[in-house]
């Protein structure tokens, strides 16, 4: 709003009054109250802090973060970065943070897709589809998550042992040691192809934008998919061919106690991911359903009257309006999924809580350990919140 349209009452400055050193003066009262409140809160914090430090000393409980540089000596089953038990506690904690992120990020993406699909399914006119979706939502939402995680973990453990592993497809093994799949031996050419693919996506997006701008100008729709295929698929394949087309597959094979080679997904990770995704999807489905139902029926009818097909109707008219309702509760669900991943300790997935707990147990520094856990979750949660708030502001109704 510009100054010209602003309410004139707010533009006028209040007349200056001399400050009287008296309780009757509103400003003096305000200052006194504020000093009092800040002082009380400050002294409570100081009192808690000094007593904590004093009592830790009296009980000879070690304090400080010096333990972070000590050798951890704890085994970690899966890690995104290289880790040995001889590494420091700090590195062990970083592994824990990455493990938490690994399950949270993948979980959020999968839960969003599954939840949206179920939410739309529940609105389906097909009786069977909508009832199955409703049944799913009610069952999943009403059972405690921990119970579900233990359920999935028990199922994972019920798979046959590695020597009797199921082999649904050549080279893919299902056993109680996890899922083993063949892995590509990674070469620089693959990295280059990946970069080319990302570049292709960006170029496609730019092309689509300019095509839309031109359509705005002359009304002619332009085909985007030929360019998309060429850029997103053709470019990486070409890059890979130019760099010698390396293609060597590492097949998992049973050697000794266990499988060697290939890529693996541990039963703990799989159980946690499946549990979190199915659980959170139940909530997301309801959020999506509420969002879609919030769009006025008149909007649907108007879109149909314009001759839009069902897909276009959802994509162009309903979803953009529904998203405004969906995003804020969706943020809460993403935060819940991330925080719920701390239940991993129950089924032996070593996330930040598990590793920080072991650390605080071995070093005995509970306050520092808990502080680290809180800091990590706070950072992750605030990042999610910030991103979602930015996205929310971006898609918010622009009043013209």
């Amino acid at each position: 709003m510009s100054d010209a349209t602003a309410d004139p009452r707010f533009r006028r400055k209040p007349p200056k009054r001399p400050i009287r050193l008296s309780w009757a003066d509103e400003r003096i009262r305000g200052i006194v109250w504020q000093i009092l409140v800040v002082g009380i809160i400050g002294s409570i914090i100081w009192w808690l802090w000094s007593n904590t430090v004093h009592n830790l000393e009296v009980r000879r409980i070690a304090t400080g973060f010096g333990f972070l540089n000590r050798e951890a000596g704890l085994p970690i089953a899966e890690s995104l970065i290289s880790y040995e038990p001889t590494d420091t506690y700090f590195r062990a904690l970083v592994v824990g943070v990455l493990n938490t992120l690994k399950v949270a990020v993948v979980g959020i993406v999968l839960a969003t897709f599954l939840g949206t699909a179920i939410g739309i399914a529940r609105l389906s006119k097909n009786f069977l589809v909508s009832k199955i979706a409703a049944f799913y939502v009610e069952v999943i939402r009403d059972l405690p998550l921990l119970l579900q995680l233990l359920f999935w973990y028990t199922i994972m453990q019920g798979l046959p042992g590695p020597r009797q592993a199921m082999q649904p497809i050549e080279g893919v093994f299902l056993s109680n040691r996890g899922f083993k799949v063949p892995a590509l031996v990674w070469e620089p050419a693959h990295t280059a192809a990946l970069v080319a693919c990302i570049a292709g996506i960006v170029l496609t997006w730019l092309y689509a934008r300019s095509a839309r701008a031109k359509q705005m100008a002359d009304g002619q729709p332009r085909k985007i998919w030929p360019a998309a295929i060429a850029l997103i698929l053709g470019l990486p394949v070409l890059t890979w061919q130019v760099m010698g087309a390396p293609w060597q597959v590492d097949w998992p094979a049973l050697r000794g106690f266990n499988f060697r080679g290939g890529m693996s997904i541990s039963p703990e990770y799989a159980a946690l991911l499946i549990g979190l995704v199915t659980y959170t999807a139940g909530f997301i489905a309801e959020v999506v359903r509420a969002g879609i139902l919030s769009v006025n029926l008149g909007q649907w009818e108007a879109a149909q009257a314009l001759g839009l097909r069902h897909g276009q109707l959802l994509r162009l008219i309903v979803l953009p309006q529904a998203l405004r309702v969906i995003i804020p509760p969706m943020t809460s669900n993403y935060l819940n999924l991330t925080k719920n991943s701390s239940l991993a300790v129950a089924i032996g997935y070593q996330d930040i809580v598990s590793i920080a707990n072991t650390t605080l147990n071995q070093t005995g520094q509970a306050i520092e350990g808990i502080a680290i856990i809180m800091l990590v979750y706070l950072t992750i949660s605030l990042s999610i919140s910030l991103f979602m708030n930015w996205y929310n502001a971006k898609i918010a109704l622009v009043e013209r």
Binding site: R59, A77, P85, G348, S354, T363, G364, I367, I370
Partner: protein
């Protein structure tokens, strides 16, 4: 049926309790310099001893079919209750996991831990604990399924091994693997039931913990012969009760209850014959049963405390036979020194 617990939540409460406990007014927390013991005073005022025990380990601490806690560790809780109240039932048992036991003791949630806890230097110093006595000499071993055909731990290269977190077990395992150049895949699960389930379900090739714990776990399986405890012992695990550092009087009491039990076995006093010990002329016996020496009073309890304890619980050997012999644990290093060549030995009870 799984017992549902919320480990994260419980620990959060535990941590909050630590914060609350350490933030209490400093004066109330000062350990007494001379006569009184804040822990003993608190127990007496409350009327019950709060004892942190295992969540359920056959032979050491497990509720029986009536829900009464039984076992070797539990007997130490009962012994302390007898010393303080002359009543073995004035104990509230708090089941603690390997991970939350220290928080429970530090925060004052429990008065003492009687929960096969290994005495180490860092626990004795930086955790703020005291370990009054070693009640059970143990060592870490491995259990595998007999069908696996493994005869020694050195054959475990490449194996998946189940282990509980937050214990010395975890560190011993990595030390041993490094020293012997053995690669292994860990599966780290906090709750005892869950980690044993994972082993039984075949998620792991081997399960590692103290040999006594392995024996206890094996004894409760439907077919114990299907599991083999490997002969290798990879660590020293002196187990005993733990109390908070700073209350020496309470630590003294727990320490001398254990030594009293060992002394009773040395002197041949059992739950059956200690009633007639008044007629025994040996000065050692007269001191133990509190007729001379005023020793109980020095510890802040009744002079006849050892008579009361041994009458109800038996001596060290009887406690061992009642709880641990049935699950297949031999006296071994826990036999008396020098009589039976073991390590259990009490300083003079005088």
């Amino acid at each position: 049926m799984h017992q549902i617990s919320r480990p994260g939540f419980l620990r959060a409460i535990g941590a909050a309790m630590i914060a609350a406990a350490v933030a209490m007014p400093a004066a109330a927390q000062q350990p007494a310099a001379g006569g009184s013991s804040p822990t003993m005073d608190a127990i007496r005022a409350r009327g019950t001893l709060i004892c942190g025990v295992n969540t359920g380990l056959a032979g050491f601490a497990q509720p029986d079919s009536q829900g009464v806690w039984r076992g070797f560790d539990v007997d130490y809780c009962r012994a302390v209750a007898i010393a303080l109240f002359n009543d073995p039932d004035k104990v509230r048992y708090v089941p603690t996991t390997a991970q939350n036991r220290f928080t429970a003791l530090q925060s004052g949630e429990v008065d003492m831990l009687a929960r096969n806890t290994t005495w180490t230097l860092s626990r004795d110093t930086s955790l703020g604990f005291d370990f009054p006595a070693i009640t059970f000499y143990d060592g870490q071993g491995f259990m595998v399924k007999a069908s696996l055909g493994v005869r020694s731990a050195s054959e475990l290269n490449g194996a998946t091994i189940c282990v509980q977190p937050g214990t010395t077990t975890e560190q011993n395992l990595t030390d041993w693997a490094r020293a012997n150049r053995i690669q292994f895949q860990p599966v780290v699960i906090e709750r005892l039931e869950e980690v044993v389930n994972a082993y039984l379900a075949g998620r792991c090739d081997a399960y590692t913990t103290d040999v006594s714990g392995l024996a206890a776990t094996r004894s409760v399986q439907p077919r114990p012969a299907e599991h083999v405890i490997l002969p290798d012992v990879i660590s020293k695990e002196p187990l005993g009760p733990a109390v908070r550092h700073g209350d020496q009087r309470f630590a003294d009491l727990v320490r001398w209850i254990h030594f009293g039990l060992v002394t009773a076995e040395e002197l041949g006093l059992t739950s059956q014959n200690i009633g007639q010990a008044a007629g025994d002329a040996r000065p050692d016996v007269q001191r133990l049963i509190g007729r001379t020496g005023d020793l109980g009073r020095m510890l802040g309890v009744d002079n006849a405390f050892m008579v009361n304890i041994v009458t109800r619980l038996g001596n060290y050997g009887q406690m061992f036979e009642r709880s641990l012999t049935p699950i297949g644990i031999q006296r071994g290093p826990n036999a008396l020194w020098p009589a039976a060549g073991g390590l259990q030995y009490a300083p003079p009870f005088r």
